[in-house]
Every structure is written in structure tokens, then in C-alpha cells.
């Protein structure tokens, strides 16, 4: 019994330490990618965004979207789907539940 307690007090700090270091490195990699990829658009980037939107509308008007390869079109479809899914994520946040509204 005493041996068990002794082993416990020796190993638990080591385990806790390992867990902390593991989560710290993961957090660091997460932050590294988030800082570049997930930040909201700065006000300076909005004109660029509007330009891209105009280009897309233009390609729809002049039928130049038919020049896209199927692979490109599929990728665009995936990206559009991902953007639309954020709408549902927002709805989930607002209704405080995953499926259905809370009665």
C-alpha cells in the first residue's frame, strides 16, 4: 500500500507534466496556423474581396466559367459548401443546441 502511494506520487507529476507539454505544443501549432488562416478579414482586404466577387460575377455573365476544369469547379464547390456550413454553425451557436430548437 505504501509502495503504491509512493509510486503514485512519483509518477503523477511526470504524467501531468507530459500532458501539459503535449497540449502546449499542439496549442502552439494550432495558433501558428490560426494566426494566418482563420483571422477575420482586415478592413484593408475588403476591396480585394469585392474585386474577387466582381470577377466571379463577370465570369458568370461572360460564360468564361465554362473554361474551368472539372477539378477546379469541384474545388470551388467544396469551398462554397464550407462557407455555407459556417451559416449553420452560426445558427447552432444562436439556438444553443445542435439539433432542433430548445422548447
Amino acid at each position: 500500500m505504501a509502495q503504491f502511494v509512493h509510486n503514485l506520487t512519483e509518477e503523477v507529476p511526470a504524467l501531468v507534466n507530459a500532458a501539459v507539454i503535449y497540449s502546449k505544443t499542439r496549442l502552439a501549432t494550432f495558433w501558428y496556423y490560426t494566426k494566418v488562416e482563420l483571422i477575420p478579414p482586415t478592413p484593408a482586404e475588403i476591396p480585394t474581396a469585392i474585386q474577387s466577387l466582381k470577377k466571379i460575377i463577370n465570369s458568370a455573365k461572360t460564360s468564361s466559367f465554362k473554361q474551368l476544369t472539372v477539378k477546379e469547379a469541384l474545388l470551388n464547390g467544396l469551398v462554397a459548401t464550407e462557407v455555407w456550413m459556417w451559416f449553420y454553425v452560426g445558427e447552432i451557436i444562436a439556438k444553443h443546441g445542435i439539433i432542433g430548437y430548445d422548447v
Partner: protein, 71 residues
């Protein structure tokens, strides 16, 4: 490690605006549905009252008859 991808501003704008639109839509719909559900629950409670009343009457009648049988 792979360097982080430079996301196009249109996609970033689209993501965040979709998120906020979703939150606004969810909040509006919730506030629209809440009084309706309370109204429905009130109606259901009232609709339950009559059958409950009937059951209570039947139960008391059964007890009254049972008394005479056991005597």
C-alpha cells in the same frame, strides 16, 4: 511543417459573414418560436385537464363501489 495557406479575402469575408448571418437568423427564429411553444404547452395542459377530470371521477366512483363490495 507545411507553411500556412494564405486564404483569399473573399473566402474570409464569406466565412465570417455567413457565421454572423447564421447567428442572427438563429436568434430571430428562436425568439419567434419561443412564445409559440409556450402557447402550445398551455393549450396541451388545458386539453389534458378534461380527461384527467374524467379519470378522477371514475377513480372515485370505483373506490366508492369497491367499499360496498368489500363490506
Amino acid at each position: 511543417m507545411v507553411p500556412p495557406v494564405q486564404v483569399s479575402p473573399l473566402i474570409k469575408l464569406g466565412r465570417y459573414s455567413a457565421l454572423f448571418l447564421g447567428i442572427a437568423y438563429g436568434a430571430k427564429r428562436y425568439s419567434f418560436l419561443k412564445p409559440r411553444e409556450e402557447e402550445e404547452r398551455r393549450l396541451a395542459a388545458e386539453a389534458k385537464k378534461k380527461p384527467d377530470e374524467q379519470k378522477r371521477i371514475e377513480r372515485e366512483l370505483a373506490e366508492a363501489q369497491e367499499d360496498t363490495i368489500l363490506k
